[in-house]
Amino acid sequence: MLPDFPDLKASLNERIIAPRMLAVEVSRMGPFAESPHMIIHEGGLNSINQVVHEDGSIDRSALARVEIKVKQDLRELENATPEAAAAMLDKVAGEMGDKMLKRNMEKLHAILEAADRGIDLRGKPLTADAVLDVWRGMLIRFDDKGVPQMPTMIAHPDTMKKLLQILEAAKGDDGFRRRYNQMIQDKKDEWHVREASRKLVG
C-alpha cells in the first residue's frame, strides 16, 4: 500500500468533515432541522421503537434505513482542489438531507391521516381565517415569559408565499387581529390549564 494517515484522517473527519456534512444535511431538512439529534446506542435496525404517549396510547415502529449510494471517480477526486472535494461532500450531504426530509414528511403525513387531523377547505380559497382555524385545533406552547411558540408552517414554496401574503394583509384587518388575539388568549388559558394539571393527586 501507499503511505496512509488514518489517525490524522479520523481526526479531520471528526473535527471538520462530519460536522460540516451534518450542518449541510440538517440545513436541507426544512422544519425537521430543529428536531433533536438523538443517537440510538442499542437495538439497531432490528429493534422496535415503542413510544408511550401522555394519554397512554402506544406507537410502535421500526427504524428505517435512509441511505444514498455514491459513486465517485477517484481520478476526478485526485485532481480536485480541497474546495472542490468539500463541494462534492456537500452535495452528498445535501442529498441525504433531502431524503431525510422526504421520509419524514411521508411519515408526518401518514400520522396526520391516521389521526384524522387533515382540514379540507372543500375548494374554498385559502384565507387567514382558515389558518386561524388550523391553529385553534393545535396545541400552542408558551415560554416562561408567556410568549407563544407558534407552530412551524410547512407548505410548497408557492403556497407558502401566498400564505405569508394573506397573513400579512390580514394584519391590517381589525376583525382578524381581534380574532387572532382571542385565539392566542384562549390558547394561553388552555396552556395554563394544561400546565396546572401536571400533578400527582390523591
Partner: protein, 539 residues
C-alpha cells in the same frame, strides 16, 4: 503468537496478577475454588484453597521471585517458612470439613533450582511419616502452568483479528488507566462466539470456550492487577461475570458447566473490593498519579470508590458475615467522602444508588432519602427541554464526558440530552416506595416534562451484553400530566423485574456491580427489583 503472549504474561506476572488466571485454569480443570486470599496477614500460607474433581482438598501458595529460578537463598529467606505453614497448618474454612487432610502446592511462574528441589524432597520424606502431612508438598512450576494454559487453547482462543487486537491492546496497556470496556467485551464475545448464529456447539466446546474466555480476561487484566488498579479490575471482572451468565443463559448450560468460572470471578471480585478497602483505609487522601491536574478528577474518583465500598458493605450483609472492623472501615470511608461526590451524568446513577442502599441499611437517618430526592431533582432541572447543560445519558461514561469538555479541546457530543432521562423513573419509584409523597408531588410537574427512555434487550440473555446491537425494544415514555398517587404506587411496587435474565436473580449485589459497569442497563424495573432485595420500602 498467543502462546508467546501467555509466556510473556507469565514471566512478568506477580503473585497477585497470576492468581486470577491460575484460579480460572483450576476451575477449567474441574476444581471448585473455595477460597481466594486477599494477601493479608490472615492467609496462613494458603493463597488458594480448592477441591479437586476427585474430592481431594488442595491448598496453593503462589510465589514469584526476581530472576528466572527460585534459588536456595530465596527459598530459605522468603518461602520455606510459608511453605511450612501451607503444609502443616490445618485448613480452617466453613466450606471444608474440619481435620480433613489437604494436598499442598507451591505454585510459581519461575523454575526451581536443584538445591531447592532437594530441600523439598527432604521435607517431604519427613512429612510422609506424619499422618496429617503425608501428602507433603508438590510444585507447579512455569512449564506446567504453560501446559495448563495450552490445554485450554485447542483452537478456541480468539481467531478474529478484532479479538486478538483487543487482547494485545490491553496486554500492552500500562494498567494505570481505565480498562477499554468495549475492547474487553469484544474479546470475550469473540472467544465465546456469542453472536455466532451457526450450528449449535457441543456442550464440551461451550464449556471450554467459557474457560478460555475467563482465562483470557484474567490475562488481559493482568497489567491492571500488576499496577494495583483495583477499581479497573473490579470493572473487568464484573464484565466477565456478566458474560459468563450470558453464555450460560444463551446455551441453557447446566450449572456444572459455568459455576466454577463464575465462582472464581465472584471470589476475585470480592477480594479486589477488599484490597481496595485496605488501600483506602491506609491512604490519607485520594489524590492519585500526577497531582496538579488531579483535582479535576477527585470527585469522580471519590464517587466510584464510595459506590464500590457501599457495594462491598452490602455484599457482606448479603453474605451474612459477622460485623467486624472491615464494616467500620467501610462506614468511615463512606461517611468521610459522601459529601464529596460528583454526578457527572446518568452513568453515575448506580454509584449513588449503591450509597443509597448502603446508607439505608447502615445509617438509619434520612440521608439516603434525601440523596435520591436530590438526584431526581437534579435530573428534572438539568434535563428539562431546552436545557443548556443537560446530563448525558448512561451511554456516556465519565471519561467520555470529560474528553468532550471544551476546556480540554473536545468537541461537543453530537447527541441531544435535553428533555430526556433514563434514571428519573427509577428514582421517582424509589421515592414512592419510601412513601415520600410530598417530595414526589413537588417533583412531578418537572418529571412529566421529560421523556423517559429505556432499552429492553430481547431475548433476555442479551441483558448481559455490553451492547445489544441486534433487536430489543427502545421504549420512550411521555408520562401523563395527571396521575393518581395510588396508580403510581402500584407501578412503583411492581417488583417482578421481568426484563432480568434468570441466573442473575440469585445475585442482587452482583447485579448492582454490573450496573456500575453497564449503567445503560439501569431501568426502573431493574431498580425496583433491586430495591426489593437490598432496600427497605414502606409498604
Amino acid at each position: 503468537m498467543l502462546e508467546r503472549l501467555v509466556e510473556n504474561w507469565l514471566d512478568s506476572a506477580n503473585e497477585r496478577s497470576f492468581q486470577g488466571p491460575f484460579c480460572q485454569m483450576l476451575a477449567s480443570e474441574g476444581y471448585t475454588i473455595v477460597h481466594i486470599t486477599r494477601h493479608s496477614e490472615m492467609e496462613m500460607g494458603k493463597d488458594v484453597i480448592a477441591v479437586a474433581p476427585n474430592g481431594a482438598l488442595c491448598a496453593y501458595q503462589l510465589k514469584t521471585v526476581d530472576g528466572p529460578r527460585i534459588t536456595i537463598s530465596q527459598w530459605r529467606n522468603n518461602i520455606q517458612s510459608q511453605v511450612l505453614s501451607l503444609v502443616t497448618q490445618q485448613i480452617v474454612h466453613p466450606s471444608v470439613a474440619k481435620d480433613k487432610p489437604h494436598h499442598s502446592f507451591l505454585v510459581t511462574n519461575r523454575d526451581i533450582d536443584e538445591p531447592v528441589q532437594r530441600s523439598i524432597e527432604d521435607m517431604n520424606l519427613k512429612w510422609r511419616r506424619t499422618r496429617p502431612y503425608r501428602f507433603g508438598l508438590k510444585t507447579i512450576v512455569r512449564g506446567q502452568m504453560l501446559q495448563m494454559a495450552a490445554r485450554l487453547q485447542s483452537g478456541l482462543w480468539p481467531t478474529e483479528p478484532g479479538s486478538t487486537n483487543s487482547l494485545l491492546h490491553m496486554f500492552l496497556a500500562n494498567g494505570r488507566g481505565s480498562v477499554p470496556l468495549p475492547r474487553l467485551a469484544a474479546l470475550i464475545e469473540g472467544t465465546l462466539a456469542l453472536n455466532t448464529k451457526s450450528r449449535p456447539m457441543p456442550r464440551r466446546e461451550l464449556k471450554r470456550r467459557l474457560a478460555s474466555a475467563a482465562l483470557l480476561c484474567s490475562v488481559a487484566l493482568s497489567n491492571y492487577s500488576l499496577a494495583g488498579n483495583h477499581v479497573r479490575e473490579v470493572e473487568g471482572l464484573s464484565m466477565l461475570i456478566s458474560y459468563i451468565l450470558a453464555h450460560a443463559e444463551r446455551h441453557r448450560l447446566d450449572e456444572d458447566c459455568w459455576r466454577n468460572e463464575f465462582n472464581v470471578a465472584a471470589d476475585l471480585l470480592y477480594d479486589r473490593l477488599m484490597t481496595l478497602l485496605q488501600e483506602l483505609t491506609k491512604r490519607s487522601h485520594l489524590i492519585e498519579g500526577e497531582p496538579w491536574s488531579d483535582t479535576m478528577f477527585l470527585r469522580a474518583r471519590a464517587t466510584m470508590c464510595v459506590g464500590y465500598m457501599s457495594i462491598l458493605g452490602l455484599w457482606r450483609t448479603a453474605r451474612k458475615m459477622e460485623r467486624d472492623s472491615t464494616d467500620d472501615q467501610i462506614r468511615d470511608f463512606c461517611e468521610k467522602y459522601q459529601t464529596k461526590l460528583e454526578y457527572w451524568g446518568e452513568s453515575a446513577t448506580p454509584f449513588f444508588l449503591a450509597l443509597f442502599w448502603y446508607l439505608e441499611k447502615n445509617s438509619g437517618s434520612i440521608q439516603s432519602d434525601l440523596l435520591v430526592r436530590d438526584l431526581l431533582s437534579t435530573i428534572c432541572t438539568l434535563n428539562k427541554p431546552g436545557s443548556q447543560m443537560p446530563l448525558p445519558t448512561p451511554y456516556y461514561g465519565y471519561e467520555e464526558i470529560i474528553e468532550h469538555q471544551p476546556v480540554l479541546g473536545g468537541l461537543p457530543i453530537r447527541d441531544s440530552f435535553a428533555g430526556r432521562s433514563q434514571s428519573a423513573t427509577a428514582l421517582l419509584h424509589l421515592l414512592v416506595r419510601r412513601n415520600l409523597k410530598q417530595s414526589a408531588k413537588a417533583l412531578w410537574p418537572d418529571y412529566t416534562r421529560i421523556m423517559h427512555e429505556e432499552h429492553i434487550p430481547t431475548p433476555k440473555w442479551r441483558f448481559h451484553l455490553w451492547r445489544d446491537k441486534d433487536g430489543g425494544i427502545n421504549r420512550m415514555v411521555h408520562p401523563p400530566l395527571t396521575k393518581q398517587w395510588n396508580d403510581l404506587r402500584a407501578e412503583a411496587f411492581d417488583e417482578k423485574g421481568r426484563m432480568l435474565p434468570r441466573l442473575i436473580r440469585s445475585h442482587p449485589v452482583l447485579l448492582l456491580l454490573t450496573l456500575c459497569v453497564y449503567p445503560h442497563r439501569l431501568t426502573a424495573e431493574v431498580v425496583r427489583w433491586l430495591d426489593a432485595k437490598l432496600g427497605h420500602a414502606w409498604r
